[in-house]
Symmetry: C2
Subunit: 655 residues, 2 copies
């Protein structure tokens, strides 16, 4: 049986493991992408790592998230990131240059490459025949340092496309159809690979829409072949030389399969408040709309804006509607302006915002409570808009533009009858207005290394020592079952501004559960640290790595739990905290807060994977525990976490 595109990409980058679904594999990474919300921590991790210079083909730091700048912290983050790019040899994409995913695709994407990004929509680059994966910050830091990434080999899910999209139906409706059929967990542990004759009429930017929102199905990634559409895209970006064809072998097979006849699709919409709540627009037509937002990496292309502009051109948006337009990038806004689309949008009543993510991630544009907002963005989770009781729908630019005019959810296929609007034929320029002046290249290798510029709110990552051979420490906190990372380290406007400042951030650790924890924990740090005891499913929820780093900073060495949520468990290992599960769950009940626990010969016990016995000195009892760490993770935990482990393996750079 021949190879599909996903297998070809994986095989070409395999650095370890077997390509059997479920087995751990290691992949070499060619390119990395970081954005500013996650990137500041990645840069601090590179600093802690002592990295001399990025070892990838290309690594780019984008500034697209924190663009509102309501106080000095955002501007200082930007300055820090720029200096880090100079320091470590990364590209710097200035505020205003654009959203990472489409900008990366336009300027750096190349068929056959792997891309690791600290953003969940990184798989959008799969539109070019790349294998692109979203990861936690430290794993991207590792990739920048030249290390392979590790993941479980996914199943490859072949989606055969046939037919051609009808008028008023576009790429967003294809991915909404996938979500309608399979829901938000349908893609877990899978790479979605699109193939078949239906691809011929889908441009690379259309494919970006579909690959981007593969994340909403929970997929590990999405890949498309690198075919003539990709060649045309690279040609328009004046990079045709970067093209190389990558298509599935004629007899390629897939682990799982499905098929979509594009000609049968109609306008779809995801209801509040999940991308999986998909129905036809017809079913909900007539509901009042107070806001329409177009833009984001889930409808980033020139076409997506131009089609909306053509629909509203010469007309006025409904008096009730705020029509918010977020251009994806400076380049796309230039082309839109050249084409006359910017004028059409403004004249119709659009609020034209700066290029960036903006409303997609709740950076402004929050609607009134309970008022319907139609958006072309990828996600509508509750509160993501910035409004607690929001009511956000996800749809195509065509459906969004129709609602902007009528003030109601409207099937855009009604527009010819309703307002005499024919489906616009959008003519795109053959060549994009390539303008790279807001993309600052890395300095030459020979340049003297720049200093990091750290504003008052940016603190270096703390150093963490290796795991000691004996832990004799108090249980500083005993928590219940299903404790989430939100309880371990809250997010929100009060805490997030300190994302680049671990000592300050640590003051919020566990305060949702026990306000006295940070003070009590810190007191243990220099005298052997402390232990947290937890019930089942410890660390569920958000993947934020701060929930491991902040307690670690306060002296956490060991978490004893009945069971762990997967990502937080990985994060604990990444930051050198030993995570042990009770062999007998009933032992959880036998330990009380403030008990002193003791475990000796720890390094040997972990390395040999034997059961580990914990002695409760307060009660004179023993508990049997075990860890499920891979050899790589054992080495990391022994070293004190990924950074000291990697630093030890990497020849230390001269300062």
């Amino acid at each position: 049986m021949g190879q599909n595109v996903a297998h070809k990409l994986i095989a070409a980058h395999l650095a370890g493991g077997e390509m059997t679904p479920g087995a751990e594999i290691a992949l070499r990474i060619d390119q990395t992408l970081t954005q500013d919300a996650t990137g500041t921590l990645v840069m601090l991790e590179l600093e802690a790592l002592g990295l001399d210079r990025a070892r990838t083909e290309v690594s780019v730091q984008y500034v697209d998230h924190n663009l509102l700048q309501t106080d000095s912290r955002n501007a200082e983050d930007h300055e820090f990131l720029r200096s880090a790019c100079q320091r470590f040899g990364l590209w710097y994409s200035k505020p205003g240059n654009g959203v990472s995913h489409p900008t990366h695709m336009q300027r750096f994407g190349r068929p056959g490459a792997t891309l690791a990004g600290s953003d969940s929509h990184t798989p959008a680059a799969g539109s070019l025949g790349m294998l692109a994966i979203g990861l936690g910050g430290i794993e991207v830091a590792m990739a920048i340092a030249g290390e392979p990434i590790h993941l479980r080999m996914p199943q490859i899910w072949g989606i055969r496309l046939t037919g051609v999209l009808p008028a008023w139906v576009s790429a967003k409706d294809v991915i909404l159809e996938m979500l309608r059929r399979h829901g938000v967990k349908g893609g877990v542990n899978r790479i979605i690979e699109y193939h078949g004759p239906g691809l011929a009429a889908l441009s690379a930017m259309d494919r970006h829409v579909i690959a981007n929102m593969g994340a909403e199905l929970g997929a590990t990634s999405t890949v498309f072949p690198a075919d003539e559409q990709v060649r045309a895209f690279l040609r328009s970006e004046q990079r045709e030389d970067d093209f190389r064809e990558i298509v599935a072998d004629p007899d390629a097979g897939y682990d799982v399969t499905d098929e979509i006849d594009l000609s049968m699709l109609e306008p779809l919409i995801a209801l509040p408040s999940s991308p999986g709540n998909v129905v036809t627009v017809r079913e909900v037509a007539g509901r009042d709309v107070e806001q329409v937002v177009i833009g984001s990496s889930a409808n980033p292309g020139l076409r997506d804006f131009a089609v909306a502009a053509a629909i509203v051109a010469g007309r006025q948006t409904h008096p009730r509607v705020s029509f918010d337009v977020n251009p994806t990038s400076r380049q796309i806004l230039q082309d839109l302006t050249k084409m006359g689309s910017t004028f059409a949008l403004i004249a119709a009543g659009a609020r034209l915002h700066q290029s960036g993510c903006m409303g997609c991630i709740g950076m402004g544009q929050a609607p009134a409570n309970g008022r319907n907002s139609l958006r072309t963005v990828p996600r509508n989770f509750p509160g993501r808009s910035g409004t607690r009781e929001d009511s956000v729908y996800l749809c195509s630019p065509e459906t969004a533009a129709a609602a902007a005019l009528t003030g109601l959810i409207t099937d855009p296929r009604e527009l010819p009858d309703l307002l005499g609007i024919a489906y616009p034929k959008v003519e795109l320029p053959e060549r994009s207005s390539v303008n790279t002046a807001m993309l600052e290249p890395p300095p030459p290798e020979t340049t003297r290394r720049a200093d990091l510029v750290k504003g008052g709110n940016i603190a270096s990552l703390p150093d963490f020592p290796p795991l000691p051979d004996r832990i004799q420490a108090p249980v500083a906190l005993k928590v219940g079952h299903d404790v989430s990372t939100d309880e371990i380290l809250p997010a929100g406007a009060r805490v997030l501004p300190y994302r680049s400042n671990i000592p300050k951030l640590a003051e919020f650790a566990f305060t949702q559960i026990d306000e006295s924890y940070p003070g009590r924990a810190l007191a243990t740090r220099d005298s052997g640290g402390h232990i947290v005891v937890a019930g089942t499913n410890y660390g569920q929820g958000s993947s934020r790595e701060h929930a491991a780093i902040a307690p670690r900073y306060l002296g956490l060495r060991l978490v004893l739990a009945v069971s762990f949520a997967r990502i937080h468990w990985q994060n604990l290992a990444n930051f050198g905290v030993l995570a042990l599960e009770f062999s007998d769950p009933a032992d959880y009940q036998r330990i009380a807060q403030d008990d002193i626990l003791d475990v000796d010969d720890l390094r040997q016990a972990i390395a040999s994977d034997t059961a580990i016995t914990i002695h409760n000195m307060t009660r004179d009892e023993d508990y049997l525990t075990r860890h499920g760490l891979s050899d790589r993770q054992v080495a990391m935990v022994l070293a004190g976490g990924m950074i000291p482990w990697l630093r030890r393996r990497t020849p230390t750079p001269t300062a």
Copy 2:
């Protein structure tokens, strides 16, 4: 002696008093302007007043300040304001339509009219030969209700302009020259009137720049004649019929005079952190610049953006610089886009933001601490940018554009030599792209009155009862000297979101001084209220009327002070709090917090303007006090404040 323009405007609207500098006069108001940050309270005041319908020629509610929308409150304010316009018969200018001052000038301004606005830059309309005055919210509410406004007759300050501005020097440099000569208090109790041959080459929008920043001199207002430049402006706005000539009589005189030879001016700049710190650009050339911001009501015209666009066209902004462009209005952005200037700005690296005030009022665009930001906005008070330790300079669009290119403070006259840029000759279109679709007219008088739409954070104004004849109440708080309104009611992100919700806002009253005040004060409200005792200069600082309303809501009836700051003293009267000054300042020391004070026959005593004796029941002492209220203010205080007073005088509308 003939009349100057200011005298003509005042005489035509005089509703009471003598036109002698220092005497109180009453003025009939033709038009009002409110913006969203102050407008929500004005609309609640109209509701409390029971107003049926606006009694002005035109009243417009603009939404230009709170456009970031980081949570639901801004969008709900916008919805409330729109419903209030429908309810009270006001025009509604949607978010995105533009900044109030230039938009009002373009659409509604007419020579000879008076304008009252709840924004300190309202005098910008003086550019059209109007008399335009910035006032507190309740005074604008009164004007909407058809009442005259009251002020002390100002001196008229004639500034004779001669000559013609040289290349690279523009209107901003004229007002910076005024600030250089006279400082930020130079215009106090004055109306600035420009006249002379130098006017001929200053367009109406140039004059807007100068009139707008008359506020920075502390002037009551600024007026220009309505001459051929005004006619040309109105013609370009397709409103030539609204023109009528208003010029000073040939033999008109002025109370004070000065003269500026425009041909002698050079590029000027106000250093951090006061508009009065003006020097020549030459003197500070070469300093690093990290941010350049163009826009705001202090450089709002098409020319101001077009000249900057022409300077940067075909070039790239410096890598260090964030170049933020805030279009003034939808209309101006349309014309800029038609002219190709939008393209030039974007291509040069501008971050093009939505139309509105934006960075001018710290709504985003906050720079890094200590980094230089050059702005064409009217004010650079410390922290106004949103950054605590900001370093903001004020300059012309020419000087701003030069810095955007070089990354340094640069005299724009150097650009020909430095970069080969000739001073651009900007050709403006003869006709503006008039587009009124985002300006919703008031409903016809015959329409059924709309309901106010109040989101969860908008509460009606509380009712305040008349002044009782006897106050026997505890001193709930004794404070020191120079207590500012910031201490009485703090501003900032924690408090400001409650600007439309007095009960919630009151929870912050005096908490900077004594956290227990709100609780203790509220406990007195239904049992006779309470008293505050203060030293000298009580209520200095910001004019916010919330500092009177919030303590009043908690039961404050009487403030006894050694002396008061003027605006807060007026605000107390406006909201029915009696303000008394000790006849013997030494008595201030004799009273302690929690003393019970008693004053009887109060209504009679105030009305007859005799000294008022306060008995301290706790110490069995008497203190002599006095008030300086005008008859109008006495009537207001007796009624319980301006709203109950006006409501009593106004025929009660049928509900």
